[in-house]
Structure formats: structure tokens, C-alpha cells
């Protein structure tokens, strides 16, 4: 009886250890999430300053009859300066420079984009919410302290006084930052977006899938169903398993040496990135696919062979369709891993400053993780929240892909 009590209390202790382990890991996950969300949520809003904009034809040298091309090429810098002067009258030159700094440097682009959409507004006045500079944005969001000596601040006393005046007039407001989801990278945090990196990663993943999935499937079907086991297949098997454990930067080196160096594919393009990620994902797909081929009961193969199907018909009509859920699950999990891989992208140059959103797999691009890495290296406080927001987006994509993998397995799984 005594020994039974001992055994029962041992079980209770074991359960307590387990509970503690689970609670500890949950705690760390929560801390991580809290840190990312509290830092990153700021990236989804941006501060704007309301201003009266008069599209003075004298400054932009176009009129209502101008072509779109002319509207696009016109110089908006002088117009932007004029807007600042009109809204802050009686500034001396030094004050003007300080006030101009409160607005984004890309102010002129904002004016141009508006005019391209509304060419009839030439010669008219409108009220517009002009994006504030990142430093002002950080002050408004409370990320930069106001109560430190002026020399330690990026926003000086004069700018603060102007800001307070604008705030009291109700001209300072926060809007949802669509730019983060629609624009490419930028030197200025307030106009930097993640879309270029998302598209870069998307093209890379499409290449990765179209390269690795068919090759992985064919290789696994051949190894599992057709080839006679022997020394050679043993060696291949060991090598595939080893490849799955090779650090991703080695695949990056392979891409740099082979694809770029020997074959001569261009540097920093999603095509090369996708191929490298494909090399990396291939062993994962082969292992998952072989496991799921092996899980198809031999009785199904016998049933097909017994009605006179050839080996190939047996495999293609019955075995592959039945193994596909497992193969697809493995593929998606492998691709999710590839999406988060940074090292291979660094090796093949997909870590450069790219403003343009790539239009295809042969345009220079960054990927999501390398964009996050780039932003994390930037000094401006504004990029810190972009980094965390980028991580949030990356995690979101990973969660979506892994959920899809689970759903596919549940939906297509065959009940025997």
C-alpha cells in the first residue's frame, strides 16, 4: 500500500513538472508576442498634418489640359515648399527649413499621386492630410521622449512648439498606414512598405514550389515504388536525410557558386532565391512523400495489380492519389520553413535596398525575412516598428501556411 502511494505521488510530481514546462514555454511565447505586438502595432498608423493645398499651376507648370505623362514629370518640390509656406506664414529661412523637416521628404510624391488621380484640381485648393516625418511621428506616438535636453532630441524646441500649435488647432491626426502594405522599401521610415518584400518572397516561393514539388514527388515515387532496394538506394537515402540537415547558408553558397557563378543567372533575383530555397526544401518533400507513399497499404497495390493494372497504372491511379495529402502537407511545411529562411537570401544578394516592387521573378527584390533583417539594422526609430510589423506579417503567413497544411491533411485524409 505504501509503495502504491509512492508510485501515485511520483505520477503527481511528474505531471507537475510537465505543467511547469508547458507554462514556462507559454510564458516565453507570450513575452515574445507582447514585445512584437507592442513595438510593431505603431507601424500600422502614421501621423498626418492637415494642410491647405493650393495646386498652383505656376509652380508645377502644367494646366488642366496637360497629358498624364506631363503631370507625372512635373516638379512638385517647389509646390511642396509653397504649401509649407502658405500654411505657416511669416517664417524666416531658418524656421522654414525646420518646419519643412516636420513633413515627410516624400511630400512632393504625395502631391503628385493626388494630382494624377484628380487632374481637375489644378488651380484649386483642397484640404489634405500630409504625412509627417518619421521623427515627428515618433514624438506623437510617444516613442521619443519630449522632456530631454534639446541636443538629445531629433525634434528641436521650435518644431515642438509648432507641433503643439498644430495639435491645439486639431490638425494633427493618425491615419491607417496603407503604405506599409502597398509600397516598397524606402530610406524614410514613414514611406517604407513591405509589399516589395512580400512579392519577392511570393515569386521565390512559386519558383521553389514549381521546382521542388515535381522533382521531389518523382524522386520519391521512383525510390519508393520502382527501384529495387540495394546499396545504391541506401547511399541515396542516407544522402537525402543528410541534405535535410544541411544548414541553409550552405545552400545559399551553392546558389551563389553554381546558379550565379557558373550558370550566370542574375544576382539578387527571386528566381535564384526560389531555386536555392527549392534545393533546401527538396529533401523535406522527398522524406515526407516517401513516408506517405509507404503508408499506403500494400493491399491497395495488390488489389490493382490483381485486376491486371500495370505497375505504373497502380502507382498513378491509386498510390499517388492516396499519398498526396501527406506529400502536400510535407511540401507546405517545407515551404513555410523556406519562407522564413534568411541566410540563403543573404548569400545570393536578396538583401539589397530595393524600392521598386518586383514585377516578376527576374526583377531585383528582397524577401520578407531579409527585409526584416535590413530594417532591423537601420538606426531610425521608425524602422524599429517596421521590423516588428514585418515579423508580425511573416508570422501571419507562416500560421496561414501551417493551418492550410493541417486542413489539407484533415480534409483529404482517407479513412480505411
Amino acid at each position: 500500500m505504501n509503495s502504491l502511494n509512492k508510485r501515485l505521488s511520483a505520477e503527481k510530481r511528474f505531471q507537475a513538472y510537465g505543467l511547469f514546462a508547458v507554462a514556462l514555454s507559454m510564458f516565453f511565447v507570450l513575452i515574445l508576442m507582447w514585445k512584437i505586438f507592442s513595438t510593431g502595432s505603431g507601424a500600422f498608423v502614421r501621423t498626418t498634418i492637415e494642410a491647405n493645398v493650393f495646386f498652383n499651376p505656376d509652380f508645377i507648370q502644367v494646366n488642366q489640359n496637360s497629358l498624364e505623362k506631363e503631370l507625372y514629370r512635373a516638379s512638385y518640390v517647389a509646390l511642396a515648399d509653397d504649401v509649407v509656406r502658405q500654411n505657416h506664414p511669416n517664417l524666416n529661412e531658418e524656421q522654414f527649413i525646420k518646419v519643412r523637416e516636420m513633413y515627410t521628404r516624400k511630400f512632393d510624391y504625395q502631391l503628385r499621386d493626388y494630382l494624377l488621380d484628380n487632374p481637375d484640381k489644378i488651380g484649386q485648393s483642397i484640404i489634405m492630410k500630409i504625412t509627417a516625418s518619421s521623427d515627428l511621428d515618433q514624438i506623437v506616438k510617444g516613442n521619443y521622449p519630449r522632456d530631454v535636453p534639446e541636443a538629445q532630441r531629433k525634434i528641436n524646441d521650435y518644431q515642438l512648439s509648432v507641433l503643439d500649435k498644430l495639435t491645439s488647432e486639431g490638425k494633427v491626426s493618425s491615419v491607417f498606414n496603407f503604405w506599409f502594405f502597398t509600397k516598397g522599401d524606402s530610406r524614410d521610415p514613414e514611406t517604407a512598405g513591405i509589399w516589395g518584400a512580400v512579392m519577392g518572397s511570393l515569386y521565390a516561393l512559386i519558383i521553389c514550389f514549381s521546382f521542388a514539388f515535381p522533382i521531389g514527388l518523382l524522386a520519391s515515387v521512383y525510390l519508393e515504388e520502382f527501384v529495387k532496394p540495394g546499396k545504391v538506394t541506401d547511399i541515396i537515402e542516407v544522402n537525402i536525410n543528410n541534405l535535410a540537415a544541411v544548414p541553409s547558408i550552405v545552400f545559399g553558397l551553392l546558389g551563389l557558386g553554381m546558379l550565379i557563378g557558373v550558370i550566370g543567372l542574375p544576382y539578387q533575383v527571386p528566381l535564384v532565391g526560389g531555386l536555392v530555397l527549392g534545393f533546401m526544401t527538396l529533401p523535406t518533400i522527398i522524406i515526407a512523400s516517401r513516408a506517405s507513399l509507404r503508408s499506403v497499404p500494400p493491399s491497395i497495390r495488390e488489389g490493382a495489380l490483381a485486376v491486371g493494372a500495370t505497375k505504373m497504372q497502380t502507382v498513378f491511379h491509386h498510390v499517388i492519389p492516396l499519398s498526396l495529402p501527406g506529400t502536400l502537407t510535407g511540401t507546405i511545411i517545407g515551404m513555410a520553413q523556406a519562407l522564413g529562411e534568411t541566410a540563403p537570401l543573404l548569400m545570393i544578394g536578396m538583401v539589397a535596398f530595393v524600392m521598386e516592387i518586383p514585377g516578376g521573378p527576374l526583377d531585383p527584390a528582397t524577401g520578407l525575412p531579409s527585409q526584416i533583417y535590413l530594417w532591423s539594422e537601420s538606426a531610425e526609430r521608425g524602422f524599429l516598428e517596421k521590423t516588428s510589423a514585418g515579423i508580425m506579417l511573416l508570422l501571419l503567413f507562416l500560421i496561414i501556411m501551417n493551418t492550410a497544411a493541417v486542413l489539407i491533411r484533415r480534409r483529404l485524409e482517407v479513412k480505411w
Binding site: G303, A304, A306, G308
Partner: protein, 258 residues
Amino acid sequence: MVEQVNSFAIKTKNVSVHYGNKMAIDDVTINFTKNDVTSLIGPSGCGKSTFLRCLNRMNDVIDSCKVQGEFLLNGVTDIYGDSIQVETLREKIGMVFQKPNPFPKSIFENVAYGPKIHGLASTQSELNDIVMESLNRAGLYEEVKDRMDDIATGLSGGQQQRLCIARAIAIRPEIILMDEPCSALDPIATARIEELINELKENYTIIIVTHSMSQASRISQRTAFFHLGKLIEHGDTSKIFTKPDKEQTNDYITGRFG
């Protein structure tokens, strides 16, 4: 018993089978008469299933398996010869397995698969007819006619096995091999299958491996007793079960060993 050469569905002579170095069948000579049910009985591991699977070359997929001896289909075609392809052979010699193994597809697809790959139906309505007729012969049509598109693995065990029989006869074989077709079924489903085997022997030669001696005596006209890879005795079922020639056979059927 004098019989014509062509009254044998399959003739075998001096058959030996090895798995690697292990002998599974040792010099077996046996002929299977047409439109009879022949039972292969014997203790576990006696080689009766191995022998059955040699008849439609299902052992081909096992690399270590070596088959020697003569196998003649209808007294003329060498089963292991170059003149016949294994797919054509299996079209003539169908097989039903121990555990029901319907494809996880619709009931219709299961039966239609064989005729489709062999091109037995040129139109959809012909295919429908073949499927209907096969299910009818397997005594399953009435039970499934309203749910032909349901997945076959949702049927009961006995229904699944009858579906597998329908799948086998859909390609119009001459011979049906059955490897313990009732061992995974309950007594009622077993009775249905036995009834079905009795009906099928009008049109097909049936060779069945069974563990149940009562089943062998109920359904078969001929019985062959295997022990340790050797064919001990082969003859009319009534004789084997009442007055066997060999003492070993007598010991087995009276339950003294095995």
C-alpha cells in the same frame, strides 16, 4: 478418374518455390478441374497461400521469391512463359484477398476500374452494364444500387468482400483465386460469400485457400491438403474428409495437429 486435357483450368508440374534460401513449396504437382471449387487446406505456413499466388504471378513483386516448375493455363499457355504478359494473365485469373481491399473510391469506380484499364467497354452505357452485371453476380447490386457514388470503404466488411469479388469478375476472368476470403468476416457474411461461391462455380473455376475445414467441406468439390510445402493429398472433397489415403491428412482433419 480419366479426364481430358482441356478439362483442366490450370495444370502444374514439379512446382518449387523459394524465398531466398528458404523453401516454401517443394515439388508440387496438381491439376485444377474446370468449373469446380478446389480448396487448399493445411496448417499455417504450409505454403498454400504462396502456391495460390504463384498461379497469377502475384509473387512477382517479391524480389526474393523464386518460382520453378511448369504452370499451364488451359493446358497450353505457359503462365510464366514469354508469350503471355502478366497483365493479360491476371485478366484471365482474378484474385480476391484475405482482407477486403476495395479502393477508397466510389463503389462504381471500384468495379469499373478493371474494365476501364482493359478497354472492355467502349461506351459509358456498356461500362454501366458491366458494373451492374458484376455487382448482380456478386449479390451486391440490390444493396448498393442507390449509392453507387458512395465511397466503397464505407460498406460493411462482408459487402466490401463481395465488392472485391464483383471487381474480380468485372474483367470476365476464367479462374478466380481466393485467399482466405472469409477469415475477416462474421458468420453471416461468411455464409453469404459461400453461397456466392456456389453460384459462381457455374461460370468460373475457383481455387480457394481456407483455414476452415468445415468451409472446405461445404463449398468445394476438390480438396488439396498441404503440409510443410508439400502436397500431401489431393482428391474429391468427400473422399478427403471421410476416407483420406494418408494418415497425415486424417490427423489434420480430425484436429490432431495444425
